[in-house]
Subunit: 185 residues, 2 copies
Amino acid sequence: MVRLTTTSYVVLGLLGLRGPSTSYDLKRAVGHSVGYFWPFPHAQLYSEPRRLAEAGLLDVTTENGGRRRQTFSLTEEGRRALQEWLAVPETEPMQVRDVAELKLFFSELASDEDILSLAREQVRQHQERLTTYESMQERFGSVDSLASRLIPLELGIAMERAALEFWQNLAARMEQPDQPRGAAE
Amino acid sequence: MVRLTTTSYVVLGLLGLRGPSTSYDLKRAVGHSVGYFWPFPHAQLYSEPRRLAEAGLLDVTTENGGRRRQTFSLTEEGRRALQEWLAVPETEPMQVRDVAELKLFFSELASDEDILSLAREQVRQHQERLTTYESMQERFGSVDSLASRLIPLELGIAMERAALEFWQNLAARMEQPDQPRGAAE
DNA sequence: GGTCACATAGTATGAAACATAACGTCCGTA
DNA sequence: TACGGACGTTATGTTTCATACTATGTGACC
């Protein structure tokens, strides 16, 4: 039995939401949905379905005639695996990977100016992403069938807002260096 | 010239903060610092310093006599590489990887009960982590020399709080299903 | 003084993830 | 018909990750 990773479940899940799809379909679907909060390289959307098909979780239909392309769809077993996964309340902790945060951790080794411009750049970046997310919410918010797919976006927005506030705050603190120092406050 | 990855800079940075250290020292240091927000397996703390040493960014001192152990320290070149990295205002976007969020994205395929218990479990998890982080902040907050190292923790706390609120909110919404539906709100 | 548990210290291995480049095919248009 | 560009797919090498294994020193207790 193959090991199912998170990648596997993304593929299974997308096939569950969309019905039978080719790798290319999945690639595009990822591009404007999960891709926003769980990025992965398109090459995996070709190799992973093959793995899953070998494991009996997907069916493959090869269209011969014209361009070679394979359509994947969930087997009963695949659907079951997906549902079992969904039914387990996740305990894997959320992970935040942020290179800027790392640089901040090492800030003792950098100059104050470096850290200040880091903070300012982060403010810009987070503002921009927040705008993007919020406009996505507006654009798709009216499409009723997509409503539940937009809920995770709320979380993304909340995270962006939290990060934005943090960096704004930090920049502000650094701009008036006559303040009391220390991390707690 | 070797490619320097984020992992490389974590090693360089830790050596910068701590001074000459063995892989094992680094491993422990990671355990109670960066490891909280940038986890990686200890095996890399053995292989990565070797790579960096070969590239001339680290010096190696082998203690012969007793247990074999190697102490690594920054070379001038290593310190320079680190400082150059720190001086670049990061544009790499923050990444949040949260399997629970993924499950939520696929929630159309799951039952309401599944999602509700997912949300409740998330609330528990985030509450717990928030408590851990806050107690860390208290414990180390008084140690003046560590103050700047605690700043990233604030960000971690802010993120945890945002996530906690989101899941609490979601759970609350689901517990009274007579509410108006939709993602925006 | 032996042996047990435990912290210390390092290595090995294989799978999965990631980035990127290269490859091929179809279609419109000039 | 030849070219550019969008459409699809594969290949490749590296990095990361997880896990298990090996081995050494230390103190405690019998």
